[in-house]
Amino acid sequence: MEIKKKLLRSSKETRQDKLGKGISYLSIGFIILLVSLILYFIISKGLSTFTQNNVNIWDFLTKQDWSPSSIGKDGKPEVGALPMIITSFGITILSAILATPFAIAIGIYMSVISPKRGRKFLQIIIEMLVGIPSVVYGFLGLTIIVPINRHLFGGTGFGILSATLVLFVMVLPTIASLTVDSLNAVPKYLSDASLALGATRWQTIYKVILRAATSGILTAIIFGMARAFGEALAVQMVIGNATLMPKNLITPASTLTSQLTTGIGNTVMGTLGNNALWSLALVLLLMSLVFNIIVKMIGKRGSIK
Protein backbone atom coordinates (compact mmCIF):
# COMPACT_ATOMS: atom_id res chain seq x y z
CA MET A 1 0.00 0.00 0.00
CA GLU A 2 2.66 2.41 1.11
CA ILE A 3 4.72 1.77 -1.96
CA LYS A 4 1.78 2.13 -4.29
CA LYS A 5 0.84 5.45 -2.77
CA LYS A 6 4.38 6.68 -3.09
CA LEU A 7 4.59 5.63 -6.70
CA LEU A 8 1.30 7.21 -7.72
CA ARG A 9 1.85 10.51 -5.95
CA SER A 10 3.03 13.30 -8.21
CA SER A 11 6.64 14.22 -7.70
CA LYS A 12 7.87 17.51 -6.38
CA GLU A 13 9.05 18.44 -9.87
CA THR A 14 5.62 17.84 -11.36
CA ARG A 15 4.01 20.03 -8.76
CA GLN A 16 6.59 22.70 -9.42
CA ASP A 17 5.79 22.45 -13.08
CA LYS A 18 2.09 22.89 -12.42
CA LEU A 19 2.66 25.82 -10.09
CA GLY A 20 4.87 27.60 -12.59
CA LYS A 21 2.38 27.04 -15.36
CA GLY A 22 -0.45 28.26 -13.17
CA ILE A 23 1.31 31.47 -12.25
CA SER A 24 2.23 32.21 -15.86
CA TYR A 25 -1.30 31.62 -17.09
CA LEU A 26 -2.68 33.76 -14.29
CA SER A 27 -0.40 36.66 -15.23
CA ILE A 28 -1.17 36.34 -18.93
CA GLY A 29 -4.87 36.14 -18.22
CA PHE A 30 -4.67 39.25 -16.08
CA ILE A 31 -2.89 41.23 -18.81
CA ILE A 32 -5.37 40.09 -21.46
CA LEU A 33 -8.24 41.09 -19.18
CA LEU A 34 -6.65 44.48 -18.59
CA VAL A 35 -6.10 45.17 -22.29
CA SER A 36 -9.60 44.11 -23.24
CA LEU A 37 -11.08 46.28 -20.48
CA ILE A 38 -9.11 49.30 -21.73
CA LEU A 39 -10.22 48.60 -25.30
CA TYR A 40 -13.83 48.15 -24.20
CA PHE A 41 -13.78 51.37 -22.21
CA ILE A 42 -12.31 53.54 -24.97
CA ILE A 43 -14.48 52.03 -27.68
CA SER A 44 -17.75 52.25 -25.74
CA LYS A 45 -17.02 55.78 -24.55
CA GLY A 46 -15.78 56.87 -27.96
CA LEU A 47 -18.80 55.48 -29.75
CA SER A 48 -21.32 57.02 -27.36
CA THR A 49 -20.79 60.37 -29.08
CA PHE A 50 -22.46 58.80 -32.10
CA THR A 51 -24.95 56.48 -30.37
CA GLN A 52 -26.12 58.55 -27.39
CA ASN A 53 -25.54 62.10 -28.56
CA ASN A 54 -26.54 61.31 -32.15
CA VAL A 55 -23.60 63.04 -33.74
CA ASN A 56 -23.20 62.08 -37.37
CA ILE A 57 -19.94 60.14 -37.74
CA TRP A 58 -19.38 61.71 -41.15
CA ASP A 59 -19.72 65.20 -39.63
CA PHE A 60 -17.22 64.21 -36.97
CA LEU A 61 -14.66 63.23 -39.58
CA THR A 62 -15.21 66.02 -42.09
CA LYS A 63 -16.47 69.18 -40.35
CA GLN A 64 -14.07 71.84 -39.18
CA ASP A 65 -15.77 73.43 -36.15
CA TRP A 66 -14.91 71.97 -32.78
CA SER A 67 -16.91 73.18 -29.81
CA PRO A 68 -18.67 70.13 -28.36
CA SER A 69 -19.57 71.75 -25.05
CA SER A 70 -21.66 74.55 -26.51
CA ILE A 71 -24.44 74.83 -29.07
CA GLY A 72 -23.44 76.04 -32.51
CA LYS A 73 -25.28 78.27 -34.98
CA ASP A 74 -27.45 75.50 -36.40
CA GLY A 75 -28.67 74.51 -32.93
CA LYS A 76 -26.45 71.46 -32.77
CA PRO A 77 -23.14 71.10 -30.94
CA GLU A 78 -20.14 71.47 -33.21
CA VAL A 79 -18.16 68.26 -33.27
CA GLY A 80 -15.91 68.47 -36.30
CA ALA A 81 -12.55 66.84 -35.70
CA LEU A 82 -11.04 67.25 -39.16
CA PRO A 83 -8.55 70.03 -38.21
CA MET A 84 -7.11 67.90 -35.41
CA ILE A 85 -6.92 64.76 -37.55
CA ILE A 86 -5.17 66.62 -40.38
CA THR A 87 -2.73 68.32 -38.01
CA SER A 88 -1.89 65.08 -36.22
CA PHE A 89 -1.09 63.39 -39.51
CA GLY A 90 0.74 66.47 -40.74
CA ILE A 91 3.21 66.69 -37.87
CA THR A 92 3.65 62.91 -37.86
CA ILE A 93 4.56 62.68 -41.53
CA LEU A 94 6.68 65.85 -41.54
CA SER A 95 8.72 64.83 -38.53
CA ALA A 96 9.26 61.34 -39.94
CA ILE A 97 10.40 62.78 -43.29
CA LEU A 98 12.77 65.11 -41.46
CA ALA A 99 14.18 62.49 -39.10
CA THR A 100 14.60 59.57 -41.50
CA PRO A 101 17.68 60.79 -43.46
CA PHE A 102 19.48 61.61 -40.22
CA ALA A 103 18.49 58.29 -38.69
CA ILE A 104 19.72 56.34 -41.71
CA ALA A 105 23.00 58.29 -41.69
CA ILE A 106 23.48 57.49 -38.02
CA GLY A 107 22.58 53.87 -38.70
CA ILE A 108 25.08 53.49 -41.51
CA TYR A 109 27.81 55.11 -39.45
CA MET A 110 27.15 52.93 -36.46
CA SER A 111 26.78 49.60 -38.20
CA VAL A 112 28.97 49.84 -41.32
CA ILE A 113 31.41 52.72 -41.27
CA SER A 114 32.61 52.80 -37.73
CA PRO A 115 30.89 50.27 -35.50
CA LYS A 116 33.43 50.66 -32.71
CA ARG A 117 33.38 54.40 -32.29
CA GLY A 118 29.71 54.53 -33.19
CA ARG A 119 28.79 52.22 -30.40
CA LYS A 120 30.87 54.15 -27.94
CA PHE A 121 29.56 57.66 -28.56
CA LEU A 122 26.44 57.63 -30.70
CA GLN A 123 24.88 54.80 -28.75
CA ILE A 124 25.18 56.82 -25.56
CA ILE A 125 23.76 59.93 -27.22
CA ILE A 126 20.81 58.04 -28.66
CA GLU A 127 20.03 56.36 -25.36
CA MET A 128 20.20 59.71 -23.65
CA LEU A 129 17.75 61.21 -26.14
CA VAL A 130 15.33 58.35 -25.47
CA GLY A 131 15.56 58.87 -21.74
CA ILE A 132 14.66 62.56 -21.67
CA PRO A 133 11.01 62.97 -20.59
CA SER A 134 8.69 64.54 -23.14
CA VAL A 135 7.81 67.47 -20.89
CA VAL A 136 11.47 68.50 -21.03
CA TYR A 137 11.39 68.42 -24.83
CA GLY A 138 8.25 70.52 -24.73
CA PHE A 139 9.85 73.00 -22.39
CA LEU A 140 12.95 73.27 -24.56
CA GLY A 141 10.71 73.77 -27.58
CA LEU A 142 8.77 76.49 -25.82
CA THR A 143 11.87 78.39 -24.72
CA ILE A 144 14.12 77.86 -27.75
CA ILE A 145 12.33 76.75 -30.91
CA VAL A 146 9.20 78.89 -30.56
CA PRO A 147 11.12 82.21 -30.15
CA ILE A 148 13.45 81.30 -33.04
CA ASN A 149 10.50 80.59 -35.32
CA ARG A 150 8.88 83.81 -34.16
CA HIS A 151 11.96 85.81 -35.15
CA LEU A 152 12.35 84.03 -38.49
CA PHE A 153 8.74 83.89 -39.65
CA GLY A 154 6.79 86.38 -37.51
CA GLY A 155 3.51 85.57 -35.79
CA THR A 156 3.59 83.86 -32.44
CA GLY A 157 6.05 81.10 -33.30
CA PHE A 158 3.56 78.44 -32.22
CA GLY A 159 2.47 76.00 -34.87
CA ILE A 160 3.12 72.90 -36.90
CA LEU A 161 6.72 73.86 -37.67
CA SER A 162 7.68 74.11 -34.01
CA ALA A 163 5.89 70.86 -33.23
CA THR A 164 7.63 69.14 -36.14
CA LEU A 165 11.05 70.28 -34.96
CA VAL A 166 10.41 69.08 -31.40
CA LEU A 167 9.08 65.74 -32.64
CA PHE A 168 12.06 65.42 -34.97
CA VAL A 169 14.37 65.21 -31.97
CA MET A 170 11.97 62.88 -30.18
CA VAL A 171 11.49 60.33 -32.96
CA LEU A 172 15.08 60.42 -34.18
CA PRO A 173 16.42 58.00 -31.54
CA THR A 174 13.53 55.58 -32.10
CA ILE A 175 14.08 55.44 -35.84
CA ALA A 176 17.88 55.46 -35.56
CA SER A 177 18.22 52.62 -33.07
CA LEU A 178 15.78 50.38 -34.96
CA THR A 179 17.62 51.21 -38.21
CA VAL A 180 20.93 50.17 -36.62
CA ASP A 181 19.36 46.86 -35.59
CA SER A 182 18.09 46.16 -39.08
CA LEU A 183 21.43 47.11 -40.69
CA ASN A 184 23.27 44.85 -38.26
CA ALA A 185 20.93 42.03 -39.21
CA VAL A 186 22.09 42.12 -42.85
CA PRO A 187 24.20 38.97 -43.30
CA LYS A 188 27.93 39.66 -43.49
CA TYR A 189 28.35 37.48 -46.61
CA LEU A 190 26.22 39.87 -48.66
CA SER A 191 28.53 42.82 -48.13
CA ASP A 192 31.62 40.59 -48.35
CA ALA A 193 30.46 39.28 -51.72
CA SER A 194 29.75 42.78 -52.93
CA LEU A 195 33.20 44.00 -51.91
CA ALA A 196 34.82 40.92 -53.46
CA LEU A 197 33.13 41.74 -56.74
CA GLY A 198 34.93 45.06 -56.73
CA ALA A 199 32.16 47.38 -55.50
CA THR A 200 33.28 50.39 -53.47
CA ARG A 201 32.14 50.77 -49.91
CA TRP A 202 29.52 53.33 -50.86
CA GLN A 203 28.20 51.08 -53.65
CA THR A 204 28.00 48.23 -51.18
CA ILE A 205 26.14 50.33 -48.64
CA TYR A 206 23.79 51.86 -51.14
CA LYS A 207 23.06 48.92 -53.42
CA VAL A 208 23.37 45.97 -51.06
CA ILE A 209 23.11 46.75 -47.38
CA LEU A 210 20.38 49.41 -47.56
CA ARG A 211 18.40 47.32 -50.06
CA ALA A 212 18.60 44.27 -47.85
CA ALA A 213 17.56 46.27 -44.79
CA THR A 214 14.72 48.19 -46.46
CA SER A 215 11.88 46.44 -44.65
CA GLY A 216 13.60 46.90 -41.30
CA ILE A 217 14.13 50.60 -41.97
CA LEU A 218 10.49 51.00 -43.00
CA THR A 219 9.44 49.36 -39.76
CA ALA A 220 11.67 51.77 -37.89
CA ILE A 221 10.01 54.73 -39.62
CA ILE A 222 6.53 53.46 -38.81
CA PHE A 223 7.47 53.02 -35.16
CA GLY A 224 8.79 56.57 -35.15
CA MET A 225 5.55 57.78 -36.69
CA ALA A 226 3.51 55.95 -34.07
CA ARG A 227 5.51 57.70 -31.38
CA ALA A 228 5.02 61.08 -33.03
CA PHE A 229 1.30 60.49 -33.51
CA GLY A 230 0.74 59.68 -29.88
CA GLU A 231 2.97 62.33 -28.34
CA ALA A 232 0.83 64.73 -26.31
CA LEU A 233 2.63 66.91 -23.84
CA ALA A 234 5.57 68.20 -25.84
CA VAL A 235 3.37 68.92 -28.85
CA GLN A 236 0.71 70.62 -26.78
CA MET A 237 3.30 73.01 -25.38
CA VAL A 238 4.52 74.28 -28.75
CA ILE A 239 1.64 73.94 -31.20
CA GLY A 240 -0.63 76.67 -29.83
CA ASN A 241 -3.82 74.60 -29.57
CA ALA A 242 -6.07 76.47 -31.95
CA THR A 243 -8.72 74.20 -33.45
CA LEU A 244 -8.22 75.71 -36.86
CA MET A 245 -7.68 74.04 -40.18
CA PRO A 246 -3.90 74.30 -40.70
CA LYS A 247 -3.23 76.70 -43.57
CA ASN A 248 0.52 76.92 -43.19
CA LEU A 249 3.24 75.68 -40.87
CA ILE A 250 3.61 78.74 -38.66
CA THR A 251 0.12 79.48 -37.38
CA PRO A 252 -1.27 77.76 -34.29
CA ALA A 253 -2.99 74.42 -34.79
CA SER A 254 -4.19 71.60 -32.60
CA THR A 255 -3.64 67.84 -32.61
CA LEU A 256 -5.86 65.03 -31.33
CA THR A 257 -3.60 64.56 -28.33
CA SER A 258 -3.24 68.23 -27.45
CA GLN A 259 -7.01 68.63 -27.54
CA LEU A 260 -7.35 65.66 -25.21
CA THR A 261 -4.86 66.86 -22.63
CA THR A 262 -6.21 70.40 -22.51
CA GLY A 263 -9.88 69.48 -22.58
CA ILE A 264 -10.34 66.48 -20.33
CA GLY A 265 -10.23 68.31 -16.98
CA ASN A 266 -12.88 70.82 -17.94
CA THR A 267 -15.62 68.45 -19.05
CA VAL A 268 -17.99 66.27 -17.08
CA MET A 269 -18.17 62.49 -17.52
CA GLY A 270 -21.16 61.53 -19.62
CA THR A 271 -21.70 64.85 -21.37
CA LEU A 272 -21.11 65.35 -25.07
CA GLY A 273 -18.04 67.48 -24.38
CA ASN A 274 -16.44 64.55 -22.61
CA ASN A 275 -17.66 61.85 -25.01
CA ALA A 276 -16.30 63.81 -27.96
CA LEU A 277 -12.86 63.70 -26.36
CA TRP A 278 -13.20 59.93 -26.00
CA SER A 279 -13.98 59.79 -29.70
CA LEU A 280 -10.68 61.55 -30.36
CA ALA A 281 -9.01 58.92 -28.16
CA LEU A 282 -10.72 56.22 -30.22
CA VAL A 283 -9.27 57.74 -33.40
CA LEU A 284 -5.82 57.60 -31.77
CA LEU A 285 -6.37 53.98 -30.77
CA LEU A 286 -7.47 52.97 -34.26
CA MET A 287 -4.49 54.74 -35.77
CA SER A 288 -2.01 52.95 -33.53
CA LEU A 289 -3.70 49.72 -34.58
CA VAL A 290 -3.19 50.70 -38.23
CA PHE A 291 0.48 51.48 -37.55
CA ASN A 292 0.89 48.06 -35.96
CA ILE A 293 -0.77 46.31 -38.87
CA ILE A 294 1.50 48.12 -41.33
CA VAL A 295 4.55 47.02 -39.33
CA LYS A 296 3.33 43.42 -39.39
CA MET A 297 2.72 43.57 -43.13
CA ILE A 298 6.16 44.99 -43.86
CA GLY A 299 7.72 42.36 -41.61
CA LYS A 300 5.98 39.55 -43.46
CA ARG A 301 6.76 40.74 -46.96
CA GLY A 302 10.29 41.96 -46.61
CA SER A 303 12.15 39.58 -44.34
CA ILE A 304 15.43 38.39 -45.82
CA LYS A 305 15.79 34.68 -46.04
Binding site: Q16, S69, G157, L244, T262, I264, G265, G273, N274
Partner: protein
Protein backbone atom coordinates in the same frame (compact mmCIF):
# COMPACT_ATOMS: atom_id res chain seq x y z
CA UNK B 1 14.54 23.56 -5.62
CA UNK B 2 16.00 26.66 -4.12
CA UNK B 3 14.52 28.76 -6.89
CA UNK B 4 11.06 27.43 -6.32
CA UNK B 5 11.34 28.10 -2.61
CA UNK B 6 12.54 31.62 -3.30
CA UNK B 7 9.74 32.14 -5.74
CA UNK B 8 7.09 31.03 -3.29
CA UNK B 9 8.55 33.12 -0.51
CA UNK B 10 8.57 36.23 -2.71
CA UNK B 11 4.96 35.66 -3.65
CA UNK B 12 3.93 35.14 -0.05
CA UNK B 13 5.79 38.26 1.04
CA UNK B 14 3.94 40.21 -1.62
CA UNK B 15 0.60 38.87 -0.50
CA UNK B 16 1.29 39.52 3.16
CA UNK B 17 2.52 43.04 2.59
CA UNK B 18 -0.48 43.71 0.38
CA UNK B 19 -2.78 42.58 3.16
CA UNK B 20 -0.84 44.65 5.68
CA UNK B 21 -1.18 47.75 3.51
CA UNK B 22 -4.91 47.37 3.06
CA UNK B 23 -5.24 46.80 6.79
CA UNK B 24 -3.37 50.03 7.44
CA UNK B 25 -5.66 51.86 5.06
CA UNK B 26 -8.85 50.67 6.64
CA UNK B 27 -8.22 50.66 10.35
CA UNK B 28 -7.58 54.35 10.82
CA UNK B 29 -10.32 56.14 12.72
CA UNK B 30 -9.56 59.46 11.02
CA UNK B 31 -12.32 60.97 8.99
CA UNK B 32 -11.23 61.57 5.44
CA UNK B 33 -11.90 64.60 3.27
CA UNK B 34 -11.04 64.55 -0.42
CA UNK B 35 -11.17 67.82 -2.31
CA UNK B 36 -10.74 67.59 -6.08
CA UNK B 37 -11.08 70.04 -8.94
CA UNK B 38 -10.10 73.59 -9.88
CA UNK B 39 -6.38 74.17 -10.18
CA UNK B 40 -6.94 77.88 -9.52
CA UNK B 41 -8.35 77.11 -6.07
CA UNK B 42 -5.98 74.23 -5.33
CA UNK B 43 -3.17 76.26 -3.69
CA UNK B 44 -5.57 77.86 -1.20
CA UNK B 45 -7.24 74.60 -0.22
CA UNK B 46 -3.88 72.85 0.06
CA UNK B 47 -2.37 75.49 2.34
CA UNK B 48 -5.53 75.73 4.41
CA UNK B 49 -5.63 71.94 4.74
CA UNK B 50 -2.02 71.88 5.93
CA UNK B 51 -2.67 74.47 8.61
CA UNK B 52 -5.93 72.83 9.59
CA UNK B 53 -4.38 69.39 10.01
CA UNK B 54 -1.69 70.77 12.28
CA UNK B 55 -4.34 71.81 14.77
CA UNK B 56 -6.74 68.90 14.39
CA UNK B 57 -5.73 65.29 14.81
CA UNK B 58 -8.66 63.23 13.70
CA UNK B 59 -9.00 64.39 10.11
CA UNK B 60 -6.96 63.75 7.00
CA UNK B 61 -7.46 65.98 3.99
CA UNK B 62 -6.40 65.09 0.48
CA UNK B 63 -6.37 67.89 -2.10
CA UNK B 64 -6.08 67.24 -5.84
CA UNK B 65 -6.34 69.23 -9.06
CA UNK B 66 -7.89 67.90 -12.25
CA UNK B 67 -10.01 70.84 -13.33
CA UNK B 68 -13.41 72.22 -12.33
CA UNK B 69 -15.31 69.78 -14.52
CA UNK B 70 -13.56 66.81 -12.95
CA UNK B 71 -14.21 68.15 -9.44
CA UNK B 72 -17.92 68.55 -9.98
CA UNK B 73 -18.44 65.26 -11.77
CA UNK B 74 -16.48 63.38 -9.10
CA UNK B 75 -18.65 65.01 -6.46
CA UNK B 76 -21.80 64.16 -8.38
CA UNK B 77 -20.79 60.50 -8.49
CA UNK B 78 -19.99 60.75 -4.77
CA UNK B 79 -16.36 59.76 -5.29
CA UNK B 80 -15.09 62.82 -3.39
CA UNK B 81 -16.30 64.94 -0.49
CA UNK B 82 -15.59 68.36 -1.96
CA UNK B 83 -15.65 69.47 -5.58
CA UNK B 84 -13.63 72.64 -6.17
CA UNK B 85 -14.89 74.77 -9.03
CA UNK B 86 -14.20 78.15 -10.62
CA UNK B 87 -17.70 78.25 -12.07
CA UNK B 88 -21.20 77.89 -10.71
CA UNK B 89 -22.28 74.25 -10.90
CA UNK B 90 -25.43 75.53 -12.63
CA UNK B 91 -23.27 76.53 -15.58
CA UNK B 92 -21.45 73.23 -15.95
CA UNK B 93 -22.95 70.84 -18.52
CA UNK B 94 -24.14 67.55 -17.07
CA UNK B 95 -24.14 68.65 -13.43
CA UNK B 96 -27.26 68.79 -11.28
CA UNK B 97 -26.57 71.82 -9.09
CA UNK B 98 -29.74 71.31 -7.06
CA UNK B 99 -28.20 68.28 -5.38
CA UNK B 100 -25.19 70.24 -4.16
CA UNK B 101 -24.44 72.96 -1.66
CA UNK B 102 -22.34 75.88 -2.87
CA UNK B 103 -19.72 77.22 -0.45
CA UNK B 104 -18.07 80.35 -1.81
CA UNK B 105 -14.63 80.64 -0.24
CA UNK B 106 -12.82 83.35 -2.18
CA UNK B 107 -13.03 85.76 -5.09
CA UNK B 108 -10.62 85.95 -8.01
CA UNK B 109 -10.24 89.04 -10.14
CA UNK B 110 -9.05 88.73 -13.73
CA UNK B 111 -7.55 91.34 -16.00
CA UNK B 112 -6.64 91.56 -19.66
CA UNK B 113 -2.90 91.64 -20.20
CA UNK B 114 -0.90 92.63 -23.26
CA UNK B 115 2.70 92.43 -24.33
CA UNK B 116 4.63 95.46 -23.06
CA UNK B 117 5.63 96.68 -26.52
CA UNK B 118 2.03 97.11 -27.67
CA UNK B 119 1.78 100.55 -26.08
CA UNK B 120 -1.84 100.29 -24.93
CA UNK B 121 -2.77 100.70 -21.27
CA UNK B 122 -6.49 101.31 -21.39
CA UNK B 123 -9.33 99.91 -23.49
CA UNK B 124 -13.08 100.33 -23.40
CA UNK B 125 -15.19 97.25 -22.68
CA UNK B 126 -16.45 97.44 -26.29
CA UNK B 127 -12.91 97.54 -27.70
CA UNK B 128 -11.89 94.59 -25.56
CA UNK B 129 -14.87 92.60 -26.71
CA UNK B 130 -14.17 93.55 -30.34
CA UNK B 131 -10.60 92.30 -30.01
CA UNK B 132 -11.65 88.93 -28.66
CA UNK B 133 -14.44 88.49 -31.20
CA UNK B 134 -12.10 89.33 -34.04
CA UNK B 135 -13.63 92.65 -35.16
CA UNK B 136 -10.48 94.56 -34.27
CA UNK B 137 -7.33 92.94 -35.57
CA UNK B 138 -4.68 95.63 -35.42
CA UNK B 139 -3.45 97.57 -32.39
CA UNK B 140 -3.57 100.89 -34.27
CA UNK B 141 -7.39 100.60 -34.37
CA UNK B 142 -7.41 101.02 -30.58
CA UNK B 143 -4.62 103.57 -30.23
CA UNK B 144 -1.52 101.42 -30.27
CA UNK B 145 1.26 100.63 -32.72
CA UNK B 146 0.62 99.37 -36.23
CA UNK B 147 0.85 95.72 -35.29
CA UNK B 148 -1.33 92.69 -35.70
CA UNK B 149 -3.20 91.51 -32.59
CA UNK B 150 -2.42 87.97 -31.48
CA UNK B 151 -5.27 86.71 -29.30
CA UNK B 152 -4.24 84.05 -26.82
CA UNK B 153 -7.27 82.45 -25.25
CA UNK B 154 -7.71 79.92 -22.49
CA UNK B 155 -8.99 76.41 -23.19
CA UNK B 156 -12.73 76.08 -23.81
CA UNK B 157 -14.47 75.17 -20.59
CA UNK B 158 -11.79 76.55 -18.29
CA UNK B 159 -13.20 78.59 -15.41
CA UNK B 160 -11.16 81.67 -16.24
CA UNK B 161 -12.39 81.67 -19.83
CA UNK B 162 -16.01 81.17 -18.81
CA UNK B 163 -15.79 84.15 -16.47
CA UNK B 164 -14.08 86.31 -19.06
CA UNK B 165 -16.60 85.43 -21.77
CA UNK B 166 -19.57 86.04 -19.47
CA UNK B 167 -18.29 89.42 -18.25
CA UNK B 168 -16.69 90.75 -21.44
CA UNK B 169 -18.11 89.02 -24.51
CA UNK B 170 -21.61 88.68 -23.02
CA UNK B 171 -22.68 85.72 -25.11
CA UNK B 172 -20.78 86.47 -28.30
CA UNK B 173 -18.36 83.86 -29.62
CA UNK B 174 -14.65 84.41 -29.34
CA UNK B 175 -12.62 84.07 -32.53
CA UNK B 176 -10.81 80.82 -33.00
CA UNK B 177 -7.29 81.35 -31.81
CA UNK B 178 -4.49 79.91 -29.80
CA UNK B 179 -5.59 78.25 -26.57
CA UNK B 180 -3.40 77.59 -23.57
CA UNK B 181 -4.36 75.57 -20.54
CA UNK B 182 -2.81 77.45 -17.65
CA UNK B 183 -2.22 80.92 -16.27
CA UNK B 184 1.52 80.24 -16.13
CA UNK B 185 1.83 79.40 -19.83
CA UNK B 186 -0.29 82.38 -20.82
CA UNK B 187 1.95 84.68 -18.79
CA UNK B 188 5.07 83.29 -20.41
CA UNK B 189 3.67 83.61 -23.92
CA UNK B 190 2.22 87.12 -23.57
CA UNK B 191 5.40 88.48 -22.04
CA UNK B 192 7.46 87.21 -24.98
CA UNK B 193 5.15 87.46 -28.01
CA UNK B 194 4.85 90.87 -29.71
CA UNK B 195 1.26 92.05 -30.19
CA UNK B 196 -0.29 89.41 -27.97
CA UNK B 197 -3.26 89.85 -25.64
CA UNK B 198 -4.77 87.49 -23.11
CA UNK B 199 -6.18 87.58 -19.59
CA UNK B 200 -4.87 86.41 -16.24
CA UNK B 201 -5.94 86.07 -12.63
CA UNK B 202 -4.66 89.00 -10.54
CA UNK B 203 -2.21 86.81 -8.64
CA UNK B 204 -0.26 86.20 -11.84
CA UNK B 205 0.14 89.90 -12.69
CA UNK B 206 2.58 90.56 -9.88
CA UNK B 207 5.65 91.69 -11.77
CA UNK B 208 6.68 93.89 -14.65
CA UNK B 209 6.86 91.33 -17.44
CA UNK B 210 3.53 92.29 -18.97
CA UNK B 211 1.10 95.20 -19.15
CA UNK B 212 -2.27 94.91 -17.36
CA UNK B 213 -5.05 96.79 -19.12
CA UNK B 214 -7.48 99.19 -17.47
CA UNK B 215 -11.04 99.01 -18.74
CA UNK B 216 -12.84 102.34 -19.16
CA UNK B 217 -10.09 103.83 -16.98
CA UNK B 218 -10.83 101.51 -14.06
CA UNK B 219 -7.67 99.86 -12.77
CA UNK B 220 -7.64 96.11 -12.12
CA UNK B 221 -7.12 95.84 -8.38
CA UNK B 222 -8.76 94.21 -5.37
CA UNK B 223 -10.53 97.36 -4.23
CA UNK B 224 -12.29 97.85 -7.55
CA UNK B 225 -13.40 94.22 -7.57
CA UNK B 226 -14.90 94.50 -4.10
CA UNK B 227 -17.44 97.14 -5.19
CA UNK B 228 -17.81 95.68 -8.70
CA UNK B 229 -16.42 98.72 -10.51
CA UNK B 230 -14.02 96.16 -11.99
CA UNK B 231 -16.39 93.73 -13.68
CA UNK B 232 -14.30 90.65 -14.44
CA UNK B 233 -14.23 88.44 -11.36
CA UNK B 234 -15.60 85.16 -10.16
CA UNK B 235 -16.08 83.15 -7.02
CA UNK B 236 -14.06 80.13 -6.05
CA UNK B 237 -16.56 77.49 -5.02
CA UNK B 238 -16.22 74.42 -2.84
CA UNK B 239 -19.23 72.26 -3.59
CA UNK B 240 -20.44 69.48 -1.31
CA UNK B 241 -23.33 67.08 -1.43
CA UNK B 242 -26.52 67.94 0.45
CA UNK B 243 -25.85 65.60 3.36
CA UNK B 244 -22.56 67.14 4.38
CA UNK B 245 -20.76 65.48 7.28
CA UNK B 246 -19.53 67.31 10.32
CA UNK B 247 -15.79 67.26 9.67
CA UNK B 248 -16.23 68.59 6.13
CA UNK B 249 -18.46 71.37 7.41
CA UNK B 250 -15.90 72.33 10.05
CA UNK B 251 -13.12 72.42 7.45
CA UNK B 252 -15.07 74.68 5.10
CA UNK B 253 -16.05 76.91 8.03
CA UNK B 254 -12.36 77.11 8.84
CA UNK B 255 -11.55 78.33 5.30
CA UNK B 256 -14.28 80.94 5.62
CA UNK B 257 -13.05 82.04 9.04
CA UNK B 258 -11.53 85.49 9.57
CA UNK B 259 -8.17 83.89 10.30
CA UNK B 260 -7.83 82.27 6.88
CA UNK B 261 -9.65 84.93 4.89
CA UNK B 262 -7.49 87.77 6.23
CA UNK B 263 -4.15 85.99 5.97
CA UNK B 264 -3.86 82.99 3.67
CA UNK B 265 -6.43 84.16 1.11
CA UNK B 266 -4.69 87.53 0.71
CA UNK B 267 -1.23 86.05 0.76
CA UNK B 268 -2.05 83.74 -2.14
CA UNK B 269 -3.53 86.53 -4.27
CA UNK B 270 -7.25 85.87 -3.85
CA UNK B 271 -9.77 88.42 -2.58
CA UNK B 272 -11.48 87.74 0.74
CA UNK B 273 -15.12 86.76 0.50
CA UNK B 274 -15.86 88.98 3.51
CA UNK B 275 -14.75 92.14 1.73
CA UNK B 276 -17.19 91.84 -1.14
CA UNK B 277 -19.81 94.58 -1.19
CA UNK B 278 -21.84 92.92 -3.95
CA UNK B 279 -22.83 89.38 -4.88
CA UNK B 280 -23.08 87.73 -8.26
CA UNK B 281 -25.46 84.88 -9.04
CA UNK B 282 -25.14 82.01 -11.47
CA UNK B 283 -26.76 84.08 -14.23
CA UNK B 284 -24.09 86.75 -13.78
CA UNK B 285 -26.55 89.22 -12.22
CA UNK B 286 -25.08 91.60 -9.65
CA UNK B 287 -26.88 92.22 -6.36
CA UNK B 288 -25.68 95.06 -4.15
Amino acid sequence: MLNAKKFISIISIMIISGLALTACGSNSSKSKITAVGSTALQPLVEEAANEYQQNTDNVSINVQGGGSGTGLSQLQSKAVTIGNSDVFADNQNGIDAKKMIDHKVAVVGMAPVVNKAVGVKNLSMKQLSDIFTGKVTNWKQVGGKNQQIEVINRVKGSGTRKTFEADVLKGKDAIKSQEQDSNGTVKKIVSSTPGSISYLAFSFIDDNTLQPISIDNVKPNDKNVEDNSWKIWSYEHMYTNKNIDKSTKTFIDYINSKEVQNNLVKKLGYISIHNMKVTKDANNQIVK
